[in-house]
Amino acid sequence: MERAIDIADLRFAPGGDVILDGVDLRVDQGELVCLLGPSGAGKSTTLRMLGGLMQGTGDLRIYGSPPSVGWQRLAYVFQSPRLVRWRSAVDNVALGIQLREGRGSKGVKRERALACLERVGIPELADRPAHLLSGGEQQRVAIARALALKPDVLLMDEPFSALDVRTRNELRHELVQWWQDAGLTIVFVTHDIDEALVLGTRAVVLSRKPTRVVADVEVDLPHPRDRDGAAWESRRQQVLAAFGSVGVETEHDDDVVVR
């Protein structure tokens, strides 16, 4: 299996405040790895550093290359959709292509954008202005915008945390399908234990800052997952035990989340 991402001894201490205290993470091609940790643990920071959007110290590799080269194989989906208000859904997807590829036929880019909207299930909303889309629809557009680049690795930063429960569950389910269809590698940041266990092939448990990896729980269960099964429950207990061992509290919301 090809190594998609290799993070070794990543450190980040802005102004002496240690946030990342030597984080190690390896992700193979085709995995869906969930980074699970409390807020302020530097999960988003780690994602940003992977794409070279922030600088830290340590060794970061994307398919063997540093972020300054490897960024072209990545695409981001952020917590908020970050669409531009003045463009329609399809033109927001095309914006991603324009930004990455520059000049080229607008018609072709639009066609590709439309195909991606179809993939995320909202081709009928293509011409709707971004600001008239619901939160879930906007996030679908943001995912289409990322998929349109045909990335090898998709970096997702709590993309469903601002959505209502139903939409969130729908999107989780569909994300798994997109991931399987496209043969993607996904690094998915979340503070929601159940989300990590529904989605991930692995759940990497992070401590509170100064952050390091506490546990790496393999979730070798087929999708879609039965949340009541004994196998599921055992993985969950493993994650809870890992958080418990470093004093991170959890609470029950719609899912079990870490604070």
Binding site: L53, A75, F78, W86, L99, G102, P129
Partner: protein
Amino acid sequence: MTTELTQPPRAAPDGAGADADPPVVRRAREGGRRRQVASLALANGLPLAALFLWWLVAQSASPLEIPDPIVVVERTWELLVGNGASQTWTSFARIVLSVALSMLIGAALVALAQLLPVTDKLIGQRILPFINSVPALGWAILGVVWFGVGNFAVVFVVTLILVPFTLVNLWQGLQALDRDLREMGRSFTRSRWRVMWHVEAPLLAPYALAATRLSFAVGWKVALIAEFFGSDAGLGLVMNQARQLLDTPTVFATILVVILIVVAVDRLVFDQLAKRLAVKTGTVVPTGG
């Protein structure tokens, strides 16, 4: 004006269930209506009263000091569509050209500071304070000394006076730019130029509009000064000649012409542009009224 143009979208007013409102709400709404009527009456009544007072005083005062409003209106008409129209529209054309030039120069300087951060201090802390503080009169005199009497001198002066307005507005717009959207842009490309063109420029559009609106109004003030000293045509020249001939009605009429044009362009051009921008971006942009 900048704040007007960049207010966050307001929630749509909830029209449902108006009848079911408790008395307190109804009373508050009636109070609001009464205030609106009073505000309208004040806004229109007071100027009308002032106009009447002007007419009244003019009946007995010397026309050299307070001319009859009727005569002023006649002269104004002359300047807009009659004999003097070429003067008015000469000034108009010069101002439009200067506004466009100042926008280009302002945008270029801001873009330069963005693309080459090393020029940031030079532009923000040296060039800006410099052109911002040179008095219009100074440029007007130097414009004539350097370029002689004519179009070039006037456009030169007005443009230089307007550049700080566009520069400051665009600069502020840049400070207020949505960080999340910029980061989104950066995550897709390393081309500074593409992020600027596709993401930042549209975000700056409301600021550019505010700057243009302001520039146009200020442009008239400055253009007349420049033409007063260094022009063979334009409303400033009309003003200068009227001064020499002690033709006070024409001085009044010139002022009125400028007011009419600035207000008309504000309402008919800038308000409409702002509305269109608002529709396109889904934000509520209150108009000048």
